[in-house]
Structures are given as structure tokens and as C-alpha cells.
């Protein structure tokens, strides 16, 4: 621009520069937050991927009366420290189940100790010098190998890291969430239907609304205090059980379900209701037979999101005691149980290095379940979305 023009602004260049700078600042903050997400996921994959495989050692096992009495005599003494004790303890049971094995010898793959596993995966390990030379010799003969880690998916928690798995926590999660949804789904949808379709604009509906908003923002740990004080101390329900955990999570999930169900109900146009009334239907009939079926996909989407939210929750469950050591899957909601996030919390606090990779692997399992649930919600919304 001409310097003598009356529109000439000497600061213009600087202002445009600053404007550009501002744009790059906002862009970089977005990039930084996405970078965090990337680093985080990468870190979990790197830490957890080694848990896909588990080390096994090929040894000769002798089945006889002595080894039933004492599992330590099953294999040659020099291999004892290299093998998983928990796996060796199972051998006498196999013999009792299959008596024809008695007094025979067999070369089989047996689960290795967690320190051997760490050695094979090139992490920090602690193995005695004598055992280490035995191990190196075995390795030279090709008798040490890494195989797919089935134990992680078929076993519950264990005090020996190589023998611990996520199964009992997974079952616990399913039981707990079943209780949660059985309670939260009907109450949440009923609340939403009442607020959207039946209540009049008055102090009561306003109070309800403020209350639900607040409930959604109360720190989750306080729901744990409620569960402890009311369900366990007042009603005497069993501590650590899926029932108490599920009921606690139900109250937490309630506001999520109410808010999303209301949005789904609101998206059903008024003309549907008016047509129903014009044909002589009562209010309940209109809502039950027309509004709710039309809003159902939206309601389901909200419920799945609420379910995913409840699945990742840990703090209130710790307060109601769901961090107990649970080696076997619970078979009813009254039994002591643990859930996946609580199991991860327990493992993360263990001193053995082998638990770290199991925690990361468990995180990957948990995240994939959550991502599938959320994708299902998005898919349902896309598939059944009606443009009015």
C-alpha cells in the first residue's frame, strides 16, 4: 500500500504477523494434545506387547507317587528355580485326573518362572549364577521358547506373575456391569421420560434438573463413600461383591443415561405426538408405543456410552473393597469380585517387573473393549439416525 495513503497503517505488518502467530499457537496446542494421545498409546503398546508371549521350558517330567506328594520332585532339581511353581503345582492334579500317566516319564513344555521370562525378553532380571548357566545351556539346545500367552486370558489373578491373568477380573466386570445396567437403565430412562414427556415446568422439575446436573459432576470417589456407608454399613450387603460395586456404579451412570435419553426423546418431533392424540391415544400410549420406540436407538447409544464410562471407573470400587485378591472367577453377584481397572491398579502396585507388562497388556485389552463399545454406539447412531 502506498505510504501516503490515508489508510496506511504502519503497524499493519506487525499486526498481521501477530495474527499468524496466534493461529500457529492455537494449532500447536491442538497438535500437542493429539501428540499426548499418540505418545500415550504408543507407550502402552510398547510396554504391553511383550506380554503377548510367555516363556516355556522343555523338561522331562516324571509322574510317580513321590511327585504327587511333593511337586518339587517332578523335575530335575537343577531346573526347579527356572520353572513356574504355580504351573508345577498343577502337575499332580493332572496325574490324579489321568492315572495312566503314573510311573511314566514325558518331555513337556512347562511354564517358566517370571525372572526367566524377563531374561528372555531382555528386561532387568534376577537369576542366580548357577541357574543362569543352566538356562543358557537349555537355550543352546533350543529347549527354551516363547509361546503365545494363553494363561493371561484363561486364568485369574495369581501371586506368581507368570501365572496371573485377566479372566476373573473380566468376569467380575461383566457381573458388576450387569447389575449396573439392570438398575441404571430402567431408572434412567424412566427419569428421562418423566422429565421430557410428563413433568410440567415448575420448581420440582427444575430442582430435578439441577440435581441431575450436579450428580453428573460429583467426584466419583464420593459415590464410593455412599456405597460404603449405605450399602455395606446400613444394608449389610457383602463387601467386595459385584452387587455393591454394580449398585454404586449404577448411581454414577444414572445422570449420563438421563441426559442422553432426554436428548433422544427431544429429537422426536411434536407432530408424532399430536398425530397420536388426534387418533384418540392417551398420553401413556403415545409415549409407550410411539415416542420411545422412535427414540430407542438414541437411548441405546446413550446407554452404551454410560456402560463404557462405568467400565473404566475404579475409585468408588476401591472404596467398596473390590480390590481383593481374586484368583477364581466369581460365580454370583454376592461373591467377592474384582473388576478390570481394579485388577490393573493392583498389578501396577506390585514390585515384580513382570506385572508391569501384564498391566500394560491389560490396559490394551480394556481400551480395546472400550473402543469397541464406543464404536458400536457410533454405528448404532449412524445406522438408525432418522432425519425428521
Amino acid at each position: 500500500m502506498d505510504k501516503n495513503s490515508i489508510f496506511y497503517d504502519p503497524s499493519l505488518k506487525r499486526r498481521h504477523f501477530k495474527s499468524k502467530l496466534f493461529k500457529y499457537f492455537t494449532l500447536s496446542s491442538l497438535v500437542v494434545s493429539l501428540l499426548f494421545l499418540g505418545i500415550f498409546l504408543l507407550d502402552m503398546v510398547l510396554k504391553g506387547s511383550s506380554a503377548v508371549q510367555q516363556t516355556y521350558i522343555q523338561v522331562e517330567v516324571s509322574y510317580n507317587q513321590e511327585s504327587i506328594d511333593n511337586y518339587r520332585s517332578i523335575v530335575d532339581k537343577k531346573y526347579l528355580n527356572l520353572l513356574s511353581r504355580a504351573a508345577l503345582r498343577e502337575v499332580p492334579e493332572q496325574m490324579q485326573a489321568n492315572p495312566s500317566l503314573m510311573n511314566t516319564k514325558e518331555v513337556v513344555w512347562i511354564l517358566a518362572d517370571d525372572q526367566v521370562d524377563m531374561y528372555m525378553k531382555k528386561y532387568y532380571y534376577k537369576i542366580g549364577e548357577k541357574d543362569l548357566s543352566t538356562l543358557e545351556e537349555l537355550q543352546k539346545n533350543g529347549m527354551v521358547d516363547k509361546k503365545f500367552n494363553t494363561i493371561f486370558f484363561t486364568h485369574g489373578d495369581s501371586k506368581t506373575p507368570e501365572y496371573s491373568g485377566i479372566l476373573s477380573a473380566f468376569i467380575g466386570t461383566i457381573l458388576t456391569l450387569a447389575v449396573t445396567m439392570l438398575v441404571a437403565f430402567p431408572i434412567g430412562v424412566a427419569t428421562a421420560v418423566y422429565l421430557e414427556e410428563f413433568s410440567k415446568q415448575n420448581w420440582w422439575s427444575e430442582f430435578l434438573e439441577i440435581n441431575i446436573n450436579n450428580l453428573a459432576a460429583i467426584p466419583s470417589i464420593l459415590f464410593g463413600l455412599l456405597g460404603l456407608a449405605i450399602y455395606i454399613n446400613l444394608f449389610g450387603l457383602p463387601r467386595s461383591s459385584a452387587l455393591v460395586g454394580g449398585l454404586t456404579l449404577a448411581l454414577m451412570t444414572l445422570p449420563i443415561i438421563v441426559v442422553s435419553s432426554r436428548a433422544a426423546l427431544r429429537s422426536v418431533p411434536a407432530s408424532i405426538r399430536q398425530a397420536g392424540y388426534a387418533l384418540g391415544l392417551t398420553k401413556v400410549q403415545v409415549v409407550k408405543d410411539h415416542v420411545i420406540p422412535l427414540a430407542f436407538p438414541g437411548i441405546m447409544t446413550g446407554n452404551i456410552i454410560g456402560l463404557a464410562h462405568a467400565m473404566g471407573e475404579t475409585a468408588p470400587l476401591i472404596i467398596v473393597g473390590m480390590i481383593a485378591f481374586i484368583p477364581d472367577s466369581p460365580s454370583s453377584v454376592m461373591e467377592a469380585a474384582t473388576v478390570m481397572p481394579a485388577q490393573l491398579f493392583t498389578w501396577a502396585g506390585m514390585p515384580e517387573r513382570a506385572y508391569i507388562e501384564r498391566t500394560a497388556a491389560g490396559i490394551l485389552v480394556l481400551l480395546s473393549v472400550l473402543i469397541s463399545l464406543n464404536s458400536l454406539a457410533v454405528y448404532l447412531r449412524k445406522k438408525f439416525e432418522v432425519k425428521w
Binding site: N211, F223, L226, A315
Partner: protein, 309 residues
């Protein structure tokens, strides 16, 4: 007329029953709020019967489980405040910057991809963040500090604060993005027509208009940070520590609640009951933050006649 009469003679009664069942369901949410309030309040009163109320808020010695135990929660509140401040120092600029980029610069298509991507951060379970903070971030901070010759704790407030900040980014960015998008376009066009640059328009016109919503998002973020449990339980310390050094270990209200309730003390001992006194403080503060936050966003909605937020 008879032909128009319904066959169901109890239709009205049924309608009424269903309506009252729905009211009952709605009342459960209110029952829950009061359930939380009273269950915490009663146990907290039990606690204050045993220990001094004034010392709880002003004392600096927190020694549960010993004879003549003392419960001065000031260092615990200070630790909570420090970690929350660190989290907000991370989340506020990044969250707000992301929101401005998504609403002002990005194309609608890019926004539709970026927003859900950021919200993944909010969907990650907090126990996973806690693991990340304890296993990856905290050792990293210790290593960096050692490289410049400062000693940092493995339970540093910085590690849990930063990770908590990452967790809170989407809470701030999502709501801020909604309110910034809701600011009417006429304001932007007017400003640009007067010769202001895009950044000046955003900073002087759009952001001030969206301010109630942004403050509301910030308060919500603070309330989330105060109540966050798993990250601090896994990555922050247990020791009540009154200090300004963010590389030292600190503890928070939620950590002490978990610690008190997972211990093996008798339920009606002051050590266990102290969890409820801390819980009461947390409940009151977060409730106030939430109410103010909701009020602000309502005012904003009324001003710009928004229907869905």
C-alpha cells in the same frame, strides 16, 4: 357415544400408576444426592465429635493411626491445590487453544474429525492415566531433573499434575469449542469489517463474548481435578507435605480418603472417619464449583438463545 368409549375401564388408573412410577424413578436421583450428602455428613459429624473442627482446617500435623493422633488437613489441602494448579496450567492453555483452532480456523470437516479424537482423551480410564504417570512420566521427570542437577521425587506433584492436565484437556476444549462456535457470526464480521485482524477479532471480540462459557468450562475442569482419584493414588505421594516445590511428593484429599478406607483400622476410629471429613470438604467445594459453572453457562445460553448445550 358408546362406540368411542375405551374398552379398558381402568385406563385412567393405569395412566396415573405409570406416571407415579416415573416420578418415583426421577426421585431416585434426588435420593442419591441426599444419600451422598447425609452418609458423608453423619460420619463427618462423628469425626468432629472426636477431633477438633478448627484444627482440621488450620492444623499442619496429620498423624492418623498413632496414639494421640492429630488431624490437621492443611498440608493435604495445599497438596490438592498444587496438583490442581499444575493440571490447570497444562489443561487451560492447551484446551482453550485447541478449542479456538477447532472453532475458528479448522474447516467443518476437520472439526468433525478432531473433536472426537480429542474426546478419546476423556474416555481413557483414569487408572490407565495413573499407570502412565507412575511408570512413564514420573521416572522421566526424575531423569530430566537429575540431568540439570535437581533432585525430584518419584512421587512428584509435577508428574501427577501434568498427566491430570492431559486428562482435563478435552473437558475444557469441548465445552469451550461449543460456546465459541455459538458466538454469533455477525460479531466476527463486524469486527473484521472495521479492519481488525483475525487474531484481534478472536482475542477482543469472540473470546470476551464466550467468556462465561469458558469460565464455566474452567470451573468444571477444576472440579474434575480436585475429585480425581486414581492418577494421584498411583502417582502422587502419601505424605502430607506443605511445600511450594512441585518436584517434591505431595498428597491430596482423595489419596488420603482411599488410604483411610483401605486400611485395617476399625470403622469408627478417627483414622477411618477422617475420610468422611475430607470427603465432606471435597463435596462442598465441588458442589459450589458445579453450581456456579451451571449458572454461568445458563446465562450464556439465555444471552445467545442457544438451545442445546
Amino acid at each position: 357415544m358408546a362406540t368411542f368409549e375405551t374398552k379398558n375401564k381402568h385406563a385412567h388408573l393405569q395412566e396415573d400408576i405409570i406416571k407415579y412410577l416415573l416420578i418415583l424413578a426421577a426421585a431416585i436421583s434426588i435420593l442419591t444426592t441426599f444419600g451422598i450428602l447425609f452418609s458423608i455428613l453423619f460420619e463427618a459429624i462423628e469425626f468432629f465429635k472426636l477431633k477438633s473442627f478448627v484444627y482440621f482446617f488450620t492444623g499442619t500435623e496429620w498423624t492418623p493411626g498413632v496414639e494421640n493422633s492429630q488431624f490437621g488437613a492443611l498440608p493435604i489441602f495445599a497438596g490438592t491445590f498444587m496438583i490442581t494448579a499444575i493440571a490447570m496450567a497444562v489443561a487451560l492453555p492447551i484446551g482453550l487453544g485447541s478449542a479456538i483452532y477447532m472453532s475458528e480456523y479448522a474447516t467443518p470437516n476437520a472439526r468433525n474429525v478432531l473433536k472426537p479424537l480429542l474426546e478419546i482423551l476423556a474416555g481413557i480410564p483414569t487408572v490407565v492415566y495413573g499407570f502412565f504417570a507412575a511408570i512413564t512420566v514420573a521416572p522421566f521427570i526424575v531423569k530430566i531433573s537429575a540431568a540439570v542437577g535437581i533432585e525430584a521425587s518419584f512421587n512428584s506433584a509435577l508428574a501427577s499434575g501434568v498427566v491430570m492436565g492431559i486428562m482435563i484437556i478435552p473437558y475444557i476444549s469441548s465445552l469451550s469449542d461449543d460456546v465459541i462456535t455459538a458466538v454469533p457470526d455477525s460479531l466476527r464480521k463486524g469486527s473484521l469489517a472495521l479492519g481488525m485482524t483475525k487474531a484481534e477479532t478472536i482475542k477482543d471480540i469472540v473470546i470476551p463474548s464466550a467468556m462465561p462459557g469458558i469460565i464455566s468450562a474452567t470451573l468444571l475442569g477444576i472440579s474434575k481435578a480436585l475429585g480425581e482419584t486414581m492418577i494421584v493414588v498411583m502417582a502422587a505421594g502419601l505424605r502430607p507435605n506443605l511445600s511450594w516445590n512441585i518436584l517434591e511428593d505431595m498428597t491430596t484429599v482423595t489419596v488420603r480418603i482411599v488410604d483411610a478406607l483401605t486400611g485395617d483400622q476399625a470403622f469408627n476410629s478417627p483414622a477411618t472417619l477422617s475420610a468422611f471429613a475430607l470427603g465432606l470438604a471435597l463435596f462442598v467445594v465441588t458442589l459450589i464449583l458445579n453450581i456456579v459453572s451451571v449458572r454461568l453457562i445458563q446465562k450464556f445460553k439465555e444471552k445467545y438463545k442457544m438451545s442445546s448445550l
